[in-house]
Symmetry: C2
Subunit: 138 residues, 2 copies
DNA sequence: GTTGACCCTGGACTTAACTCCAATGTTATG
DNA sequence: CATAACATTGGAGTTAAGTCCAGGGTCAAC
């Protein structure tokens, strides 16, 4: 498959694909004419990238994971690093969730307030609410 | 209060303070000598900024909110815009939460797998898991 | 055999939210 | 009064993850 088809299959721009290759996330082979050829392996790679990105991994982290995978020799160390990476990610995700839940409550409360307001002077009320949060949250 | 004290009171770099001023989020007055003077008003402003940032508002959005506040004349329109902004924020927050909850489950599952693995070849198992997600999630 | 649709590369640009720097001015302290 | 610790400005640099572009090669179709 050529880059154009590959890109449109996964709804990604060709430039992004080339960027991923430059970052060693994708390893297409080359045809005689220099064109990239995307095979089954590349499909696996891009699917892995897409999912990991969805899970909140950065490009650098994905690089690391792929590196670990290819570097099968030092298995215990690799395993530990991998597990560590996932642990960190779990922690971050948990933090995010509780933070956003908190935030959601607050924003909803503020919105209620804003909806009830007839004249905008009362936006000061909103401000007061928000400033109230400052004491508690930080 | 001078910029240094103000900055360290709120654990922010002086450059960041100056940046906020340039973006019209903060409006310190000037002393004779050109130094910025941060008063009560500025404290309110920075606290508002900090909380709104914590809630996930971008600088641009905070600018908008402040603009709405100062522009009290067109009250109904302002109110609507404000409420809209908060509505959008609520939707985004809800999305985020359910997404991260989903992601958390997945990452935890993968981590379990990785923890159990004795030799790293089995990282392929992880990969298979992750690729399995690709079908479902997208 | 020449269009038009692709592909290649290297490098510059983008956005957000800072962060750093140089050159220079001001002030508090010993 | 000299020195260090602050302040000022304009402008450049940073990071992540792309995105765009110019200048060129390749290929299939009419």
């Amino acid at each position: 498959m050529k880059i154009g088809d590959f890109a449109s299959k996964y709804q990604i721009q060709t430039d992004t694909i080339r960027y991923y290759e430059k970052e060693n996330l994708l390893t297409p082979i080359r045809r005689e004419n220099g064109y990239r050829e995307f095979d089954e392996e590349c499909e696996k790679q891009i699917q892995l990238i897409i999912v990991l990105k969805q899970l909140g991994f950065t490009i650098k982290e994905i690089q690391q994971l792929l590196l670990l995978r290819d570097n099968k020799s030092i298995s215990t160390e690799c395993k530990d690093t991998t597990v560590l990476l996932f642990d960190q990610k779990i922690m971050k995700l948990e933090e995010r969730i509780s933070f956003y839940q908190q935030a959601l409550k607050v924003v909803q409360a503020i919105k209620e307030l804003a909806s009830d307001v007839k004249y905008l002077e009362n936006i000061d009320d909103i401000e007061k609410q928000v400033l109230g949060l400052f004491q508690k949250d930080l």
